[in-house]
Symmetry: C2
């Protein structure tokens, strides 16, 4: 009953990067299935078909693996945000669609989202020292795209508040609250998810924009 320990064949000389991708793939699958903390480096290595120390040829620490996954996911969010901005018009409907992009991304990439915004940092900055703030910077990149959209509705005179940073941070917090709770507390007796999301987004819209009841 001992594990078969199927070893993946050694990579040709220049193809270490390929192994790196395999590690990221395996890690993402395991994290998604079992959660970040419960997955060990040995489990990841076995899934890839290499020894556990071999991981450290490609990543300095375990946290670096999660950080990399997170950065990649946020690159996708930035893309989506830019797409949302491309066909954005300063209307309530378009604004709600933009908010929805954020929510959908979070729910489709729960693990990346966790790493970027929900992983404990340690009050002494331990986490920061370990992985740097690259994952968060990636998240902020998306945040800035979002701020640009908010800027447009502000310039159109639709917002209650004039300060773009202020509105954006507030809206972001509002969106993050929903996403993070739906991820972290999936078994809470939530109202039907689609309804809740729609409800939440229109509440945020009403709170931020004036005129439209």
């Amino acid at each position: 009953m001992t594990a078969p320990k199927v070893r993946s064949p050694r990579k040709p000389k220049g193809q270490g990067a390929e192994r790196r991708e395999e590690i990221l793939d395996a890690a993402l699958k395991l994290f998604s299935a079992k959660g970040l903390h419960t997955v060990s480096t040995r489990q990841i290595a076995e899934a890839v078909g290499i020894s556990q120390p071999a991981l450290y040829a490609y990543f300095a620490t375990k946290d670096d693996i999660t950080a990399e996954l997170c950065i990649r996911a946020f690159a996708i969010l930035v893309e989506r945000m830019e797409a949302a901005r491309a066909d954005f018009t300063p209307t309530a409907e378009s604004f709600e669609r933009a908010l929805r992009v954020y929510v959908d991304f979070g729910l489709e990439n729960p693990d990346a989202y966790r790493v970027a915004f929900m992983v404990e940092k340690g009050l002494d900055g331990t986490y920061k020292e370990r992985v740097g703030d690259r994952p968060m910077m990636a998240g902020i990149g998306a945040f800035q795209r979002f701020a640009e959209i908010v800027g447009e509705v502000r310039d159109a005179g639709l917002t209650h508040d004039d300060d773009v940073q202020r509105i954006t941070q507030t809206l972001w917090a509002g969106l993050h609250g929903l996403v993070s709770l739906l991820i972290a507390r999936a078994d809470f007796p939530w109202v039907e998810r689609e309804v809740l999301i729609a409800c939440h987004i229109s509440l945020l819209r009403r709170g931020a924009l004036k005129g439209v009841a």
Copy 2:
């Protein structure tokens, strides 16, 4: 330079509960100073002045310690919520004050808040199996008090939405977003904190209540 290892004198026979309190006190301090994951059971034991296995006479697992801390903190929130409800009148001002109670509690008890709402659960329900959902139930207790307040403004005909559960969950998510981000990402270039909180709360109020601009 080796640790002095000051041992606390053995407790008299019936006074084990007292040691339990000492453990909770020490754990709370350490968690607050260094973060949950970076504090080991050995560190807690040394702070108390007992051996590490002695902890297990009072708590079945490390998670049980954090869970207990969390439950106690939420008992305080319930108290505050009930106080807020006691002198609650269905007005915009009173409503905003109630929202503020939640935010203040979260920021004053960041560690309890983390344990209850931000700690990873493991997608297979691992966390639930370990500590039960008692901490979350404690949080929900507070949530229900909050729902009662929302019910009052609904009954006064002040809300856009009629469904109390729906509004409450939405508002809760909105509040949680701000609190959790301020806790987990304290070094983000936030707008001045007091301003942000005021802004956020009035956005939520505008989104939930009608009439008051």
